[in-house]
Symmetry: C2
Subunit: 343 residues, 2 copies
């Protein structure tokens, strides 16, 4: 009202000048802009939300705020969102379907502008809420057959299968799978791993290890120890996560297991440490950041009534082959098994 008075127009014209400047005369728009500036007016998001039944909050449901994998995706979401007036709100489901549903209901009471949820394994109740949500919904990180609305991710099982096949092709035969806390995605990766090995008759469930705690470097080291107890002749691992792979690398160094000749390591996600490690560690590069960027971009396009493009996007992945699986090739860069003897 103050702005309206100062600009000599009505309140609704101020509102329109802000939200749909195209529907206000150039002249009025200028006067409103000047008044806003002079008075230092800022809109009240609560009043806006109440009147329009729509907040400027984009709710994001992630299973973990611990896992650096989601961090990269969050970064992508933020990067895009920060250019707008929408605000990201993150809620942590802790890998619990019940918690996910509760948090989703919490978001829905806020009349979110959009919703971003992780994965494709929602409970029936959550799925129902999402399907009838009064806002755009993007599922991220995975892709699957029946999107609620939009979807950006890649196939985790394909990625693991390709990695497993790479290990086989590199000459490894007693290949293990290391995972941390088991969730829908890691299970899917395991099935890709299994598919990759079963064709060659190399799959052995005794070489599949999961844990009951989050992924970490120490866990990887511990799991290597456990693996070698179960099968002293295990000769390679596919780690569900690069943290684990680093832990395996360090433990190999500690035990003097030559990488890649005696033992091969493949990580998952390809965090930047993988390329720098000694030896550099083979990993599956996943488009985490880009998943976040595209998810938010699609969401914003829909909110702006623009064309969001393809609603389901498989962003793929890429196996990055490095020394940790470059077996028996003589002139390899110095690796842990090849570090110059020192002092």
């Amino acid at each position: 009202m103050d702005v309206a008075r100062a600009a000599g127009v009505s309140a609704i014209t101020v509102s329109r000048a802000i939200r749909t400047p195209g529907r206000v005369s150039t002249e009025a728009r200028a006067r409103v802009a000047a008044a806003i500036r002079d008075l230092g007016y800022t809109p009240d998001p609560a009043a806006k939300a109440l009147a329009s039944s729509r907040s400027d909050i984009v709710g994001v449901l992630v299973p973990s705020v611990t896992n650096s994998v989601f961090l990269d995706t969050m970064r992508g979401l933020y990067e895009v969102c920060e250019t707008t007036d929408y605000r990201v709100q993150i809620a942590n489901t802790r890998y619990s379907a019940a918690e996910e549903e509760r948090l989703l209901r919490m978001f829905l009471t806020q009349r979110p502008a959009g919703l971003i949820v992780t994965g494709i394994d929602q409970s029936a109740a959550t799925a129902g809420l999402l399907r009838s949500a009064p806002c755009p919904v993007v599922q991220i990180t995975e892709i699957g057959p029946a999107p609620f609305d939009m979807m950006v991710g890649f196939s985790h099982s394909d990625a693991a299968r390709v990695a497993a096949e790479h290990l086989v092709d590199s000459g490894y035969r007693r290949i293990a799978f290391l995972g941390a806390r088991r969730d829908a995605r890691s299970t899917r990766r395991l099935s890709g791993f299994r598919a990759g090995l079963e064709g060659k008759g190399l799959y052995n469930p005794a070489r599949v290890l999961f844990a009951d705690r989050p992924s970490s470097v120490p866990l990887g080291a511990e799991q290597l120890v456990e693996l070698l107890t179960r099968d002293p002749d295990a000769d390679a691992v596919l780690c569900n996560n690069d943290d684990l792979a680093l832990g395996v690398l360090f433990e190999c160094q500690r035990r003097g297991l030559a990488i890649p000749d005696r033992f091969g390591i493949c990580g998952f996600n390809d965090i930047s440490a993988m390329a720098t490690a000694c030896p550099a560690v083979t990993s599956v590069q996943t488009p985490r950041r880009e998943v976040g960027r595209q998810a938010m971009t699609m969401l914003l396009a829909r909110l702006a009534d623009e064309d969001p493009g393809r609603p389901v996007r498989d962003l793929g992945f890429r196996l990055v082959r490095r020394d940790s699986t470059r077996r028996g090739q003589g002139a390899v860069a110095p690796g842990p098994g090849r570090v110059r003897p020192i002092a």
Copy 2:
């Protein structure tokens, strides 16, 4: 209104039954509770915020969503906040004072329940806004002399000084400091580092390296290369961040620099990888998670009109000495310079 009708009371009684149950008769409270359950009522946060000039949002200003250091603190904040009806909203200042001010103003228009800001180096404008903010404010990560309101952190310069002294005490003499993007905290850590070395006449600015990009493992490796170009006889580094320390470790392994005898490494923060690395890396353990927990706990106490305890809390730090600086002590666990010759 629906709930009120069902419970046979007025709307305001429902409101009171929810917010201040003590001021409603047991009987009315029970009827309201039943009605809420039967109708599946959930309060509208926008209407609540509009009517009361107070949202349930706790705004958090962090310089980076990239840096895993802040991630740990966020985790602590979330852990505590998740037990309440308040919601965390994170905004990313990108190490920019102007951006910080803009985002703070954005938060203020939301009438936040509380505000959490990183560090003690706010601009004058930001400081003014914070000092007169109509809600509790907690500064996190550092401690300093003039809190706006509450403060939880530790002394970064002391921590770096202790680490530097440890390197000196371990026998290193040409000690370098590696930092990524320079900010207020890293500058303060550098001054601690300098203080630790200057007493012994060992400080040399040629051995101080900063970068123009975020901390990462690859950056640490690159900076070691750069350092050795500048001073081939450098014999230790204090890394401003554990990522950098890992990069240095890998680069040392690659170059066959024996750790700890030829080269000592000390990290900062003590992420879990440090203890698992080969050799294990000395680092300064910092209470990141606990900073988050206590900050949110204090904030909630104030919001509940309870005693928040000491308003300024120095949570300290702890140097964790490991093999990467355990110089010339003969029987050391196998380290990169001591890995058994392989195959």
